[in-house]
Amino acid sequence: MSMKSARRSRFLRTALGTTILACSVAGTSSAMADATITIATVNNGDMVVMQKLSSEFEKQHPDIHLRWVVLEENVLRQRVTTDIATKAGQFDIMTIGNYEVPIWAKQKWLVPMDNLPANYDVNDLLKPVAQGLTYEGKLYGLPFYAESAMTYYRTDLFKKAGLTMPASPDYDSIRGMADKLTDKAGQTYGMCLRGKPGWGENMAYVTTLVDAMGGQWFDMAWKPTINTPAWNKAITYYSDILKADGPPGISSNGFNETLALFSSGHCAMWIDSTVAAGLLYDKKQSQVSDEVGFAPMPTGTFKGGPTWLWSWNLAIPVSSKQQEAAKTFVTWATSKEYIALVARNNGWVAIPPGTRQSTYDNPEYKKVAPFAGFVLAAINSANPDGQTANPRPYTGGQFVAIPEFQGIGTQVGQTIAGVLTGQSSVAQALAAAQSATARTMRQAGYPKK
């Protein structure tokens, strides 16, 4: 027994000596204890590139090790929400949307991103994007990539039909063009839109359409304003154009399904996220890459209201035990240097877009991404803090930035999908949506001070 303990203490002494030696040789950076940080992220192209290039970060910071947890968006949302609400501390960095950041910051769940290094150039972040991540004057997440929405159209089909896309289209002209472009026998549909129910699916688009038609979700007393003429006009437009000019089975089409339809040549027009531009432009993924045209989102009776703005951001939960190391990684992954690193490895077209002015000033990026100007203009005009036709008590572009909106949005989304499938009329659907939303809001204790 004593032999054993003597051997053990000798081993410990040797190990300690070796460690001290190694630390002094390696210099100051290794003086800090090794840190392993766990990063929870969604599976999309830009995040996959980040995971691949993170070996560069580990080379620069040998004392920080990275572990990745990649999940589907809805699973990730459920997973990180459980973790952060119970303060379990399973993750050091979470990939969350601009919907969650201000809500979680208010709950004091996130670490503020202050004291950023000078070379991070925080003023280079696009204003509307940074604004969406700010709570009480402090940033609570750093944007990895951001998107707005625009109109995509097929230049060849427009030419054949003798049509020209206006520089700033409105919904009336869009409807007229969609009718002319539709050839159901030839499986070409004038207008493709999201129809799959969900707060982040059909309701993302519908919310911007309602804003454009002069409507909004709630009045200043937090009373739902769904059963109103503006909503009626918007939903009638949405269901009429899709019934007349949309593809079959529209209520099961989300972003990916519509992307597949457009890239295989079945859509003449599509209004959706700017992230589709890069995918439609990619010859490997799209059969119509040479025929894609871009235009801003159509406008309605109310112009200049809030439109679409979504960003995926890296944030640090307060339950993380490695906050310093996590911050080092977050500032690296959202920096100008990182964007340049992606450009060196995968080309400028593959960089995560939408976050920094410097990206859009870069001539090399503009050369490979002809849609860059549209994306920048769309993001800059998105204005999530802006006002609707009548004043509103909430912020957000294609969503309402309150915790209850996930549930409300999905429920109303289902009701509106019912209009597309012919289950109910517009008036019936809006009345049902109004009373369901009013009930949820009452239960949640609105109006709140």
């Binding site: 969604v42 599976n43 572990r67 589907e72 997973r79 119970t86 990916n256 597949a260 993924q285």
Partner: protein
Amino acid sequence: MTDSLTKRLVIAILGWTVALLLFFPIFWMVLTSFKSETDAITARLAFAPTLAAYGEVFARANYLAFALNSVVISVGGSVLALAFAIPAAYSMAFHPTQRTRGTLLWMLSTKMLPPVGVLVPIYLLFRTTHLLDTRTGLILIYALMNLPIVVWMLFTFYKEVPHEILEAGRMDGANTWAEVWHLLMPLTLPGVASTGLLSLILCWNEAFWSLNLTSSSAAPLTTFIASFSSPEGLFFAKLSAASTMAVAPILIFGWFSQKQLVQGLTFGAVK
């Protein structure tokens, strides 16, 4: 003669139809995994096969680490469930009390609770006991999750064993341990084996708890599959490749043990 031929033909056609219907989604998944992403979104049968999706899946995630976790957790969970269920089923089958029936029904009723209902309490318990993202944690959960079904199956198998055999054993001086181990086990081995196999398959395919209670160190193949579904961009081929790789081990295992499974599941049915 013709009558029996028609009957056999009808049964054969019915059997094949059901088998093909059940197999079709798996066939389609395997087929999609050999397509390119643009082919994967179409329903075309003619395409140029490629291994690109498998290449990408292998490059992005450490498949073997996930597979090892799946094996350890499924085997561990099933063995632990059997270890508790064998004595429980023995006592209920051979020494029943007035409450045995009620207890059995109550055990089964726990399966009627949707797992998400107890997510937060279990998550908090795991956090306090440091079981989050550990194999031990998942083994415990899986054993508990399968316990009602395992007890029920073993109970029905044990019920088929005549009491007289055990009585004879007792007359010869066998104690409870010898009774279970030397008499009951050999008699019901096909049943125990098929129960174990079923539990193994249930553990392997379980996704809710594995997704919620693990992050990286203990994540099994269900988490591996979930990481290939994407909100924006095409992913059908990669997701199919990941799913094929995840179901392949249990499918091969099931193929080899199907004799045991069928024998066990029909055990006692013809008596």
